[in-house]
Structure formats: structure tokens, C-alpha cells
Subunit: 190 residues, 2 copies
DNA sequence: TACAATGTGTTGGATAAACGACAAATCCAC
DNA sequence: GTGGATTTGTCGTTTATCCAACACATTGTA
């Protein structure tokens, strides 16, 4: 909110570049996409690309972050509360995201993608938690958020390793939601 | 062909403005569209509008010219020859254009629109005629083109005045094509 | 009439984007 | 390997676009 509104040319150009990259990602895999391909598709100068992004990996990160954040943010503004329903749909958003990526052949960037997912998850979870816990000590809340985001991401890796073929993501995550919401000290009660 | 290719920013911005104007024309009529409306829709600065167009009437002219020219030019590149078929479809392009405009309520600009139609018709006809009459004296060919474009435009006004309700444009123009192609010295023979 | 609100067209200074050129890195056929 | 072609990342200069501000015209309304 502090930011003095950004130049419309910047918004326009970034969108052109990102959209072009997404478009190209549907046609060929990441390693075959050059900066020239992107700027040609976007009808902008190649030098302009480097004005906005460090390199093509920087672009990849920012595109993935944005795509995922848009899906996750839906929870914050729509459901607004961290409960079983919102956790389930965030988990589904993550697994969908990973599935769509594996179709687009970003092999070799799994670690980067993992980091991106966890970072965006943290951002979104934090937004929701501060709404519900305005009074509490910020540092602890922050740490809880980090732990939760790592945990949920871990659950998604566990699901992909063992359960992807045998269980839909909503069932998988629902079975552990009680531990998330009420802690491991309690058994599931409803 | 002589022009050193135009700056891509200019192409992009002109297209944004023209598309926005066409988009807005579908929602409200010309007299209610302001420059601010257009630039807001196009997401460009208002001053930039005046960098490309004198005023909103200048924009109107250029948009209409381009839309019509695209329809007419199809004949040049596709059919390539000035014969009954191409004359008929150019005539239909004109009457369609006028009908679509009257739906969009550009009342008060009939004279301007008339001039635009005739000018674009002249351009297109000239392109076709030079292909077929490369050897002849250019001045006479030019004059013939002008007469023909005025004539065809006149036919379209005549059709709208008398025949719009009773006869489709293709039938109307077909009946006079012989006079165009073979002159008034001959009667229609086929 | 008067007075506010909105739209028009222009200006000067700041900034982003275009362009061509360049060295360096990477790729690839031989 | 070697050499040619492509890609990358950077730079300085030029040009298009942004922005805020301005005087003026038009519209609407009390």
C-alpha cells in the first residue's frame, strides 16, 4: 500500500512478457525457450526484457509465483478464515499446480518450484492468520506460519509419492486436518 | 515499401486506441464517447492519444478507413481481377459497412463517412486496375478510377434510397455491372 | 446569470522502451 | 578438438509514453 503507483508502461510490458512466456510454455518445454522467443512473441525489444527480469530463470520464478498466488489468494479474500474448507482447497490448489507443471515439463527445476510453492503458501497463510490472531505476538505467529507452510508442502510431496494414484487430494488432506487445527495432542473427534 | 519500419511502440499504441474505440462504439454511441473513455479503456495516457491523432474525429476517420479497407482489400489479394464477381462483393462490402454503421448510431457524420468510403474504394479499385492495365497512360487510368469509385458509391446510395427493402445488394449491382464493364454504349448481352 | 463540474487540447520534464552494437558464453556440426 | 552460428547480457543514444499542470470550451444545474 506504501508503493506510489507503478508506471502503466511497466505493468503493460511485464504482462506482455509473462503472458508470452506462458503461451510459449504450452508449445515447447522450458529448456527450449529463448529470451528472443519470448520478446518476439511479446513484440517488445530484447533489451527491455532485461530491464524487468534478471534472466529467464528470474522470469520463470515470477510467473510461477504469480500463477500460484492468484489461486491461493482466492482463499484469503473469499473464505477469509483458516478452517478445514480453506485448508483443503489450498491443498488442492497446490497439487493442481504441481500436476499442471509436470505436464509442462519443467524437469530439473523441482527444487526451485518447491521453494516457490512454499514461499507463496507462507504469504497466503500469514495473511489469513493475522486476520484471526491480531492480538498475539507477531514473532510466534510468523514462526507458526513458516512451520505450517513447510508442513503443508511436505504433505503434498507425501501425497504425490504414495497416494496420488489411490486417493484424491481432498480425502488425503482431510485425514490430517484435525492435527493441523487442533494439534497432535488431540485425537480426531468429528 | 520505402518506409523505414515504424517503431513497435507506435503500432502497439495505435492498435490499443483503435481497438478500444471499436469496443466502446459497441456500448454507447459516438457523441457520448470521450477521449478519456478511450484512453482509460486502452490503458494509455491521455496525452499519448494526441500524439497519434488530432482529435476524436481524426480517430473516427482512421478507424473507419481501416475497417473498410480491410474488407475491400480482400478482393485485391484474393480475386485479383476486376470482374463481375469482384465488383459485386465490393458493393456488398460497402452496403454491409453502411448498415453496420447505421446500427452504431454515427448520425451527423454521413458526409464524412461518404468521403471515407469513396476514398477507400478509390484506393482499392486503383490497385486492381493498375494490375490489369500496366501499359496505359497513368493519368487517364487515375481519372477512370475516380469516376468509377464515385459511380459505385452513388449506386450504393441509390440502393439504400429505393431498393434496400425490395432487393438484395447483389441483385441490384449485378443489373448494372454490364454498364460498368462494357460501357453504356453496349446493351447487356448475357 | 452564475458557478461548479467535466472535457479538450497543449506543454515541459521525467522515465520506459526501442535500437544497434558489442563481447562473452554456449551450442553444434564436422 | 576447431570454427561458425546462436544466444546471452550490457551499454549509450534516441524516441515514445507518462504525468502533472495549464488555459480554455462545454455542459449541467441551482
Amino acid at each position: 500500500m506504501t508503493q506510489s503507483k507503478t508506471d502503466p508502461r511497466i505493468v503493460r510490458t511485464r504482462k506482455l512478457i509473462m503472458d508470452s512466456f506462458i503461451e510459449l510454455s504450452g508449445k515447447k518445454e522450458f529448456k527450449d525457450i529463448t529470451v528472443k522467443d519470448i520478446t518476439t512473441e511479446a513484440m517488445i525489444n530484447r533489451a527491455t526484457f532485461y530491464y524487468h527480469f534478471e534472466d529467464i530463470y528470474d522470469l520463470l520464478e515470477k510467473v510461477l509465483s504469480e500463477v500460484l498466488l492468484i489461486n491461493l489468494d482466492y482463499e484469503v479474500f473469499e473464505k477469509n478464515e483458516l478452517n478445514e474448507e480453506s485448508i483443503v482447497s489450498m491443498f488442492i490448489a497446490i497439487t493442481n499446480f504441481q500436476t499442471s507443471l509436470s505436464n509442462r515439463c519443467h524437469r530439473g527445476y523441482e527444487d526451485t518450484i518447491a521453494r516457490i510453492i512454499r514461499e507463496q503458501l507462507e504469504i497466503t497463510l500469514y495473511k489469513m492468520l493475522v486476520k484471526q490472531h491480531t492480538t498475539e505476538k507477531d514473532e510466534a505467529l510468523k514462526t507458526a506460519t513458516v512451520m505450517l507452510s513447510w508442513g503443508i508442502y511436505g504433505a503434498s510431496t507425501e501425497w504425490r509419492r504414495n497416494s496420488e494414484k489411490v486417493q484424491p487430494p481432498e480425502d488425503f488432506i482431510k485425514s490430517v486436518v484435525p492435527y493441523i487445527l487442533h494439534g497432535i495432542g488431540f485425537g480426531s473427534r468429528d
